[in-house]
């Protein structure tokens, strides 16, 4: 029986744990990397622990998510809650994601956190779990007449696979159980999840075609396999992936593509439909690849990754342009103002990138991971850690109506659909596990994220193959990255394994410097085909200097929405203009004078950023201009007389926008040179 299979619990393992037979590079033990509290990532984790997690735990009470479970208790029970179900029908997942976040934070801290609260919740879950193992409070508590936001009443399990979200809830419960087992060695929550999962596995075995309208459980089932060693969970994931893509879920109000049910997963070569669903699904596809090595799975995922990143990703790393159905839009449909770019899509994109990186070892996936992390994902949380964006636009105009929480001008403490905050919390609690991995082929230690961190990897305990017995790597990584391009890695003894340092895609090879034990290295020669700078075993001190000049980024000409504009970046950090930094002018009237150059501006301690950007621009008043006007065909389309005010343009990291009150913001800035080709100041070039 599944439930009695020998458990190979691996306390100390992080997300995507286990042997990962098909991986090109493998996670280190979760405790191998500790981020320093002075660096950006370390501070983020500290804030997550100190502010975001307690905030989420509080919200589980105030939102009704826990009461939704308590109402299933016997009315005589003192903990019974008598009120109606509250929130969306998948509100249980807010509980589970928060429990997962607490677990990973406990692992990071090296000691249980919020343990009393967690035990109470686990106990509550145990008490309301159906004898079958089923545990979705919306369905269990329904008498067939009470709807909830987002779904019709449905007293029978799995009666509404398209919208019921029950397997999605199971997935998050399973992720939480796995995290708690790995973080604390406690199997209590895992057992709750396994009881439900076993019923699902049995139903699949009996021929029930269980496939969820919101993918998530696929990854979770693979994690259950990793945790339990029982291949039934892996095969359940495979079965669910194979059931999908044939229209079984039906349609209404959205087409099958919304649920990734229009194309079989192995045949898909474009991302489609609801972005978060698509991205979770792809994470699950790669999870299955990591266990099975089935090339068709990785090939489909890679093709979709190329499509997503080549045609449907915002310059901030955001995905899913459309508000209407929270979907990926058409190719190159990337409006900055109407960017939906849900925070959860940012999280899911990172989870997918991480699995692609493990599967391939290729730097571009780590580039993307870092890019999404430091831009769209970081922006989703306020500097104090307790307010969040649901959607992440790249432009807010003067006069924006931000009344709706899905297009809010400012971050909010919680949401009717509260998927994002605990999702952010669970990801941030695991950031340290993404800093470095071990390559499967030669055992090299690959460093993906540059941060103030200490690595202490006892390679004997490493789960990867190719580890020499007794290998230990202790590295101190010191850097002010991403504000500073210098990264110094110091080993306490000559490294017994090679090192592989990611060369970010934005870094010009010719302007990158690498010193190993004081000797400069030919960077181009050190660069391997996967995008990493290779340093042979035996090194003690490595200094990587990345070029941190400000950059202006242009978009593919089919991205009509940003024609004639540039985005500003430095290193991996995308910047934006905020109205608050440009008093006296209308932000939409500002154009950037690219030819005047860009400088690195001072740090902003209040915003917690180590650098800003400064440039030269002009504000050309447009008030009173007609909405449309004839242009002189013999001239250029933007030949209005220029009565511009020169001004200094200040750009701050997109990650911290909206922390100084609400107001206009934009990532893509009209570039003066392209806007006004007839302007004498620009002509003759």
């Amino acid at each position: 029986m599944i439930g009695t299979a020998p458990r190979t619990t691996t306390a100390g393992v992080g997300p995507v744990g286990g042997a990962l037979p098909a991986a090109r590079t493998r996670p280190l033990p979760a405790a191998a990397v500790r981020l320093g509290a002075s660096g950006l990532l370390g501070r983020w984790q500290e804030r997550n622990a100190a502010a975001t997690l307690p905030h989420c735990l509080d919200a589980l009470e105030t939102s009704g998510a826990l009461d939704n479970l308590r109402r299933l208790l016997d009315p005589a029970d003192p903990d019974h809650h008598a009120g109606p179900y509250r929130g969306f029908n998948f509100a249980d997942s807010d509980v589970h994601k928060t429990l997962e976040a607490v677990a990973w934070e406990s692992a990071r801290a090296g000691a249980p956190r919020h343990e009393d609260e967690v035990r109470r919740v686990v106990d509550l879950l145990r008490r309301v779990q159906a004898p079958s193992g089923y545990l979705d409070s919306h369905v269990l508590g329904s008498d067939g007449t009470d709807g909830s936001a987002g779904a019709a009443p449905s007293p029978e399990p799995y009666a509404d696979l398209r919208w019921g979200h029950e397997l999605y809830v199971l997935g998050h419960l399973a992720q939480a159980g796995v995290a708690r087992a790995r973080a604390t060695g406690q199997d209590d929550l895992l057992d709750v999840a396994l009881a439900w999962a076993d019923d699902v596995v049995a139903r699949l075995a009996a021929g029930e075609e269980l496939v969820c309208g919101h993918p998530e459980v696929e990854s979770a089932l693979v994690e259950l396999y990793r945790e339990s060693g029982d291949p039934a969970y892996r095969e359940a994931a495979r079965r669910m992936l194979e059931l999908r893509g044939h229209g079984r879920l039906g349609s209404g109000p959205f087409e099958p593509a919304y649920h990734q049910d229009a194309t079989p997963v192995r045949d898909a070569d474009e991302v489609a439909g609801h972005a978060v669903r698509q991205l979770y699904l792809l994470a699950g596809v790669v999870d299955l690849y990591l266990e099975t090595g089935e090339e068709a799975l990785l090939a489909a995922a890679a093709a979709q990754w190329d499509d997503a990143h080549g045609r449907r990703t915002y310059v901030t790393g955001g995905m899913g342009s459309r508000h209407k159905d929270e979907s990926f839009g058409d190719p190159f449909e990337l409006p900055p103002d109407r960017a939906y770019a849900e925070s959860c899509a940012g999280v899911a994109s990172v989870l997918w990138d991480w699995r692609m990186l493990l599967a391939t070892g290729e730097a571009r996936y780590a580039d993307s991971l870092e890019h999404a992390l430091l831009n769209v994902v970081a922006a989703a949380t306020s500097t104090d850690g307790t307010a969040f964006f649901y959607s992440n636009p790249l432009q807010v105009r003067t006069g924006h109506d931000g009344a709706d929480e899905y297009q809010a001008s400012g971050r909010r403490g919680w949401f009717a659909c509260a998927c994002c905050p605990p999702n952010l919390a669970r990801l941030v609690a695991t950031l340290h596990t993404m800093v470095a991995t071990r390559d499967a082929d030669d055992g090299a230690l690959a460093v993906h994220l540059y941060a103030d961190a200490d690595l202490d990897a006892d390679l004997e305990a490493d789960l990867g193959a190719g580890t020499a017995a007794g290998d230990v790597v202790r590295l101190a990584m010191r850097t002010g990255y991403p504000w500073d391009g210098d990264v110094v890695l110091t080993a306490d003894a000559p490294s017994p394994v090679p090192l592989a340092l990611r060369l970010p895609g934005w870094a010009d090879v010719a302007r990158t410097r690498l010193d190993v034990d004081g000797e400069p290295v030919d960077v181009a020669a050190a660069l391997d085909a996967r995008g990493y700078l290779r340093v042979g075993a035996g090194a003690r001190r490595v200094r990587l200097s990345l070029p941190m000049e400000p950059r202006a980024i242009g978009a593919h000409p089919h991205v009509d929405a940003v024609r004639g504009c540039v985005a500003l970046a430095r290193g991996p950090v995308v910047h934006c203009l905020e109205q608050v930094d440009h008093p006296g002018v209308v932000l939409e009237d500002v154009t950037l004078d690219l030819a005047a150059g860009l400088e690195v501006g001072p740090a902003d301690d209040a915003l917690g950023v180590g650098a800003t950007l400064v440039g030269t621009g002009r504000a050309t008043p447009s008030e009173g201009l007609p909405l449309y006007r004839d242009v002189n065909i013999d001239a250029t389309p933007d030949d209005a007389p220029v009565e511009a005010t020169d001004l200094q343009v200040r750009a701050v990291p997109y990650a911290v926008w909206g922390n100084r009150g609400e107001g206009p913001m934009r990532v893509w800035i009209p570039a003066a040179a392209s806007l006004r080709p007839g302007d004498r100041r620009r002509s003759g070039r």
Copy 2:
């Protein structure tokens, strides 16, 4: 009692009938203008009669809209329908709008059309009408458990004012009843509407706060007042307008602004929320002004008109940019690809413009009316009259997913929410009534729409003030407009009243010519403050020559979505590029060489257009370009090497796009000069 008030039925009157005491210019009798079958507007009406109306009548059967009424009959009745309710909860309005369209078409034709079918439907409505007069089949047929698309089950009338649409349905029923009475003299349908309206009036009098989540009934009540002479209907409209704007409707899933319930109608100075609702509401506001002369109403409507047309209207006349909630977006948020621009919003915009024109006599409202009519409204229907767009994008990209009917790549025969087709039909059947009006001050005949038409206005029968007894104007208007700029008006006798000819806003005064009885007239001197060229009484032959050179249109710099692009127009007709006219290149790779000029191209008989536009462009292959790339800060943001193919660009009227198969289309075209300022072919200018 209201129902027994003396009826002042005015057979022969068109929409917005009656004395209109506050009007600056008043409609002619509906039969005063007959559009010639050779002109664009006349052909449109003929197609509407021959193809669109029969199509709509058929669809009332196939969609279930009539069966929704028949299921209310006694089960023993042979006409009883036993099936469930079908469609959205306001599907009755499809019936009523179709009846209205048939009525106006009957008036236009001078004889009843589809009279047997109409009588059967009227009889059906009578038989299922509740004793109270209430007549919403979704509510009457509900047992409290059956939902319909769009609303929860609601067996009690007015239990769900926010989503119930019952008063909206009443409004369309009333419009149909009024149209039938005016067109045919038959009061049967009007009596059905009055019975329901009387109950609503009584409820309002009893203190019930009836205000509908979807405005429409306000205009209808004013029309009932005009038709019946009973001020109770006018006051009911006033009461409903005053109830609105105080949050009575509540919220969910959308904010009060969605329903125009956030701001009192007299205080509103911006359009907001669901576009069709907002536009119908504003038509109702101006209807009430036309009866009461209350300046606050007109001032609020005018401010909102300026906002809508100055910041939130597509160059095609489309309104309501957002798919998510079908709303006006933020100011200048006008993405061409994600333009929702619902066909019904185009219709409603015309209805609002028409009332603004009557209230003020100002040409800009007629300009807007004509512009919306000939572009977004015209585009909504296929050249064969039997397929329709629900939304009207200004760009369809290569790879567009048009599976959803709200963002379809091609027109469809009918819709789950079928508001648009009968709405288009009822408007088109009244186009002739918008050609000309009588000015209230001096009785001048004001010509707003240029078309092949015959005017035969017996001014004694005119409802307007200021008419000299015995005045008759018989004018033949001959023109190939909008394909040709020459308009010749010939009277059979010297006109007893002055003429006022609209000078379209796009027409340069200096290039416009006007001849009266063979003598050239100083156009600038003839132009009055309202935008009309005044011709004194006594003229027999007037020739207006409008400048029809192709024009390139640029947008306000805050319309970020079309930066660096131009739209092409000739006269009032906006054009677009279609892939089918540009074989061998990717449409999104095409830029227009503005400096090479634009020429008038040949007519296209298959498309039914009298002219096209031809220009010179280049196709620059972009395949393989990265989504984002660093641009050289010392150069321009679009300095990629140019490997362009020169090509002839062909633009067809937007009104006929999508009639030659599905494929990419765009209204806004990147202009080469602004796109590539560093290109040597453009530099040195």
